[in-house]
Point group: C2
């Protein structure tokens, strides 16, 4: 068997983003953590960490973390069957990467009963639409909700449905930039809001209107901030319909071009041997998702 003390030290350094916090979490001194990492590297014969701020795993470090994540999930199953093993009686923590817009809209409502019934704590990691999978590949999360269908090795993907987005702006914004009604060709010179460098939704929308060049945009890597900027008339942008339903109803936001939604599919990626808890959450999401998402 591996020496799991060493692997737990590696996992803590990566999960906590540093040696100092890892030491705090494990109740060890910082030099004890360093020694364990060094011992682990001596055993595997190569570095497991890139010593940066925050530290990141090397390729072999990633494989080890991936293994730790899966062992933890299996341990949880065992704890249920042999409760005495579970010394502290603490709820299990499930680390999940998901896109900001899901977290800002339907995620909490869909998983709340599961969390209460299973006494599970969530450790959520926000990742842009299509990049959460790299966290799975790195073994840093047990599951990932993202826009890519193709699973990583050892995992499965489940199509949950799609989030419907609409291009929205405030009435004052529309009056200022489109005093004579909406004209697609003026859109490139009308400030948009873009979530971040991985967000191509506004680009797709413009392309669907025949605009392929660059466009003026604010950058705002926050779902709620994005909505607030649109409401305040700072820019136009694609907002989940569900997130803006009250604003649309009140007329605080309007669709810049009538009935031109974009549907973004969501896939749930989970380890094939991720243990019972993960399998149950997957089943729970399969049942709940249709109530929150539009069909694919």
């Amino acid at each position: 068997m591996f020496d799991y003390k060493l692997l737990a030290a590696l996992a803590a350094v990566i999960e906590q983003g540093g040696f100092e916090r890892a030491a705090q979490v494990l109740g060890l001194s910082q030099s004890a953590i360093s020694q364990r990492i060094k011992l682990l590297e001596a055993r595997v014969g190569q570095p497991v960490l890139v010593r940066a701020t925050p530290p990141s795993p090397t390729e072999v470090g990633r494989q080890l973390l991936n293994h730790v994540q899966q062992v933890r999930l299996l341990e949880r199953d065992l704890h249920r069957q042999v409760p005495a093993l579970d010394e502290e009686g603490l709820p299990e923590r499930l680390r999940i990467a998901l896109n900001a817009d899901s977290l800002a809209t339907w995620w909490a409502g869909a998983v709340s009963t599961f969390c209460a019934e299973q006494q599970v704590l969530l450790d959520l990691v926000v990742e842009d639409q299509d990049v959460g999978l790299k966290r799975m590949r790195a073994g840093e999360v047990a599951a990932c909700l993202c826009g890519s269908e193709r699973p990583v090795a050892g995992a499965r993907s489940l199509a949950l449905g799609a989030m419907r987005y609409r291009a929205l702006a405030s009435p004052a914004f529309m009056a200022r930039y489109f005093p004579h009604g909406f004209e697609p060709r003026r859109l490139a010179r009308t400030p948009a809001i873009v979530f971040g460098p991985d967000d191509f939704l506004q680009h797709r929308y413009l392309a669907s209107l025949g605009i392929e060049d660059g466009f003026l945009h604010h950058l705002c890597p926050s779902s709620e901030g994005f909505l607030r900027l649109a409401e305040a008339g700072v820019g136009w942008g694609l907002v989940p319909e569900r997130q803006a339903s009250a604003q649309l109803q009140r007329g605080d936001l309007v669709e810049i071009c009538a009935d031109t939604p974009i549907d973004v599919p969501l896939y749930w990626h989970h380890w094939r041997n991720g243990g019972q808890l993960l399998a149950q959450l997957t089943e729970h999401l399969r049942q709940m998702a249709p109530g929150w998402l539009v069909p694919l």
Copy 2:
């Protein structure tokens, strides 16, 4: 004078998070970007970049970026006085680090008129309460809104006011965990929600109730997700009063212990020689903030 083509390449690689995107943004080939970075390193006699994904600046790289940021702001002022210099007529972009809760609540409302009048585009970077300043020190942002008062070298800090937080949970959550009324001593075994490893607000709240040990908690690095989890009864947590006003009014969220707010001060950090636009935004915030924040 420096060769600003080289410095612009460095800034683009850091701001875009890689050589490929930097090349796209500057309309150059990737090898042209690499050559410029190498030439820059030959000139300064040491590496300016750590070649990781994403690349990060070295100490000297940081100093160069800091300089680029300030030169850009000064150029903007010059463009106003000598409009012919401004070849493309594009609005200026202002890169600002701020805490997620400000972005989720009052920021957009406070700056919208400024953005419209000044034709400025925002490039917002979300940083936890007290760590946005490292972006200033790294020369990556023109200004920063955070909980620390002490300015970095070359910058000033302005006290804007405080955000008022209240410890909230859903009525169903309170009924489940506190069937006989609120008892502080049970709080450590009642799942909380914590924004991330730098969020000590829940710790402070527990300490104010005499609980100094660890406590069960979910991790959710999203303002809106945090509120959604609280509404869904997944945990209790400190939420900006302003963000939850509708939920408090409707009774969808209640204060777990009556009238125990925590006020978190906010400071606006800006470069001393940051140019006219930044000075105007600073003045604008000084005037607007009292309408959105509680006095310090």
